[in-house]
């Protein structure tokens, strides 16, 4: 009997309203492990080539991992994947909270949602039953309202939800899925895919627990992490415990070195940075800190505001990405408005990164005359206008006026506008760039470019963190990193280190484990061994990362997304208008060389980025060779 997993994958076809349970064999679990591994397998294997992301044939995959559901720090996460409505390609995203644990306790390792319901529904998944229930009364409701109504009508205290808000219903292309109330499965527009299926929520509950191969080892590692995370040299958990992300020291230092994206990446320092830090949030509006299930790191801010805008403490406080995307990136230093916009993103189910970048794009278009007050219903959509930023959040969510355009994401919005608007669209493959400046963290910029889903700040090494020997870098050496190098280095050695970090992150996303809890790769391999009884090694973790990345690339190639899209916006190759980066951006020749080197190191063709047959066979995905392009794709 397999240990650590339920051994069951739930399939729900919303068109035919049929429910089926697959029981993959243990070899499948060993090969793909969970989370991102499952997502990459099922997307490539089952999503037909060329369909629209909103076609009922698209599949929405909620995947757990061997760690999910354990009462361990960092263990309560899931990975969700689908064909992305932003990129038209591979997409996956992870979230925390409590929902992932509830889904595991319902007794499933993954839920694959297929088809489209003929009216709004939600899905109940418990250890007793699986039901498709009417959600007509929930359509139009916020995430908070949705959770409260579902909990009341199911009458179970242990019920946990993953839900969309109005943004997902309205097919805003960067709508997200909210685990519980404040934990976003944020990136890639997966909430819009859920909305396209008329699926408002999944409600999960149960009391099932997997049999573990070595429960004493799990208890021992849990105790070590809970007692020692604050002093663990691999991460920064102590500071996360104190203030979450976005601390003043980090943001003000970032402001000094050009790592404070502002004015839509046009200026990379911001006068008002000190007003919008985590410290400022907690001093002004904080009422405490909270945790995901069973996690002592407790990195989530709880905030409350009564005026000028009310913010309900149940809806969560802003993380670093939200603070900057809705703040400096839009030229806004009004902390109350940023905190309110963050709450709206959680209530409406919007990815706060893509939301802020899309508004910043709109502001730059407005300031350059591409949009005018005739387009914005009279709103002066200028950088720094906090009220306009908030109004635009509402307009995007409900696709009103210019919001209907910006709800398409920056890539499509720029294409529709023309007149040079593409110069202001800060995305990779349609996914908006996170709040980590690729001109400062140039190796991370490489990962933004080559990652299958587009610009993802959780997919590579943040170069500024690894410029000298440290326990953190020593840890990455165990995955193949070379030596510490300057943040703007793009040498072959840096590429090798970024590859190592990329694979580490994909392993984490498959386990599925939080990046903020400082588990080492050896400890995570030990956890997999203790859960499953397998002789799992770090070598297998590296191979898994390669497998996930390669399947994501194959998915994109099948959709016509080629190496030409493995790039950054032109803006990143030039200077900012002011700030530390005004002397210049990324060297395009060095960047192109780094992309080609990354391909070669991954076992992909250096010119086309197409995975080689040998690498696919080595990774145990020879079954996908027949799907390789017959001829090299034209960049």
């Amino acid at each position: 009997m397999m240990r650590g997993f339920a051994g069951k994958v739930l399939r729900v076809d919303l068109t035919s309203r049929t429910i089926h349970v697959d029981q993959p064999d243990e070899e499948f679990y060993r090969t793909y492990l969970g989370g991102a591994g499952f997502v990459s397998y099922y997307l490539f294997k089952e999503v037909p080539r060329g369909i629209d992301a909103f076609d009922p044939q698209n599949k929405l995959i909620f995947a757990l991992g061997p760690m999910t559901g354990l009462a361990m720090p960092g263990a309560t996460r899931n990975c969700v994947g689908a064909k992305s409505p932003l990129s038209g390609g591979y997409s996956k995203s992870e979230g925390g909270g409590f929902f992932p644990m509830a889904l595991k306790k319902a007794g499933y390792d993954a839920v694959i949602v297929e088809g489209k319901a003929d009216r709004p529904v939600y899905l109940l998944v418990s250890d007793q039953k699986v039901e498709i229930l009417d959600a007509s009364h929930l359509w139009g409701k916020t995430v908070l309202e949705t959770q409260d109504v579902i909990a009341a009508e199911l009458g179970e205290k242990s019920i946990r939800t993953a839900a969309i808000g109005p943004a997902g219903e309205n097919l805003v292309r960067f709508a997200c899925i909210m685990n519980d109330l404040k934990d976003a499965v944020g990136r890639g527009g997966l909430g819009a895919v859920m909305g396209s299926k008329n699926l408002k929520a999944i409600a999960a509950s149960g009391a099932w627990n997997p049999e573990l191969a070595d429960p004493a080892k799990i208890r021992q590692l849990t105790t070590i992490m809970n007692k020692g995370y604050a002093d663990n040299p691999l991460g920064f958990a102590k500071s996360l415990h104190e203030r979450g992300t976005g601390g003043a020291a980090m943001m003000l230092a970032g402001n000094e070195i050009g790592n404070m994206p502002s004015h839509n990446f046009g200026v990379n320092s911001f006068e008002g940075t000190a007003k919008v830090t985590a410290n400022a949030v907690l001093e002004s509006y904080g009422v405490g800190m909270e945790a995901c299930a069973a996690c002592g790191v407790r990195c989530k801010k709880v905030v409350e505001i009564s005026e000028p805008w009310s913010v309900n403490r149940r809806n969560g406080g802003p993380e670093y990405e939200s603070l900057v995307a809705l703040g400096p990136l839009c030229g806004v230093d009004n902390l109350a408005s940023i905190t309110k916009a963050n709450e709206l993103a959680n209530l409406y189910g919007l990815d706060s990164i893509s939301l802020g970048v899309s508004i910043g794009f709109g502001m730059e278009c407005f300031e350059n005359g591409i949009l005018t007050t005739r387009d914005t219903d009279g709103i002066e959509l200028k950088f720094g206008n906090a009220e306009a930023m908030l109004q635009t959040v509402e307009m995007i969510t409900h696709r009103r006026g210019v919001g209907d355009l910006l709800a398409e994401g920056t890539k499509r919005a720029a294409e529709k506008l023309g007149r040079g608007a593409d110069a202001f669209a800060m995305h990779v493959k349609g996914l908006e760039i996170p709040m980590h400046e690729p001109r400062v963290k140039q190796g991370l910029g490489l990962i933004y470019a080559v990652e299958a889903q587009g610009a993802d700040h959780c997919a590579g090494m943040h170069d500024t963190g690894y410029t000298m020997n440290s326990p953190g870098f020593e840890h990455l050496r165990g995955m193949g990193a070379t030596r510490p190098l300057p943040a703007n280095d793009l040498s072959d050695e840096k590429v090798a280190s970024q590859k190592a970090s990329h694979l580490w992150n994909l392993f984490l996303d498959s386990v599925v484990c939080c990046q903020f809890v400082p588990w080492s790769v050896d400890e995570l391999a030990e956890i997999v061994r203790a859960v499953t009884g397998w002789s799992y090694t770090t070598y297998e973790a590296v191979r898994l990362g390669e497998r996930v990345a390669t399947l994501g690339r194959l998915f994109n190639l099948r959709e016509g997304i080629t190496s030409a899209q493995d790039n950054l916006p032109k803006r990143m190759f030039g200077p900012t208008r002011a700030g530390a980066l005004k002397s210049g951006g990324i060297d395009p020749e060095k960047f192109d060389h780094a992309v080609r080197t990354f391909y070669a190191m991954m076992g992909w063709d250096e010119d086309t980025g197409v995975p080689t047959r040998g690498k696919m066979l080595e990774l145990g995905i020879g079954w996908a060779v027949e799907d390789l392009p017959a001829a090299p794709p034209t960049p």
């Binding site: 500071s239 601390g247 980090m250 907690l282 953190g472 903020f516």
Partner: protein, 81 residues
Amino acid sequence: MRITIKMMGQLRSLQSEGQSTVVLDLSPGSTVADAIRTAGVPDGEPWNASVAGQLVYAEHPLEEGDSLLVFAPIAGGCKSL
């Protein structure tokens, strides 16, 4: 050679008496690493540093009057500024 060194975040606690900014008197030709060691940061403690908005590394030579900003390579929201 006099330089100003400012510590941010958790590194500030490593500096003598926890002051955020101190002036150091260093011999000509001193590097960033020399300054940070002199300021009380123990060997092996990771840091980032910048001068005039540009990231600088251990062997970067300092000049009279430089203002050196030193901060943690990775940090969340620690209490110290």
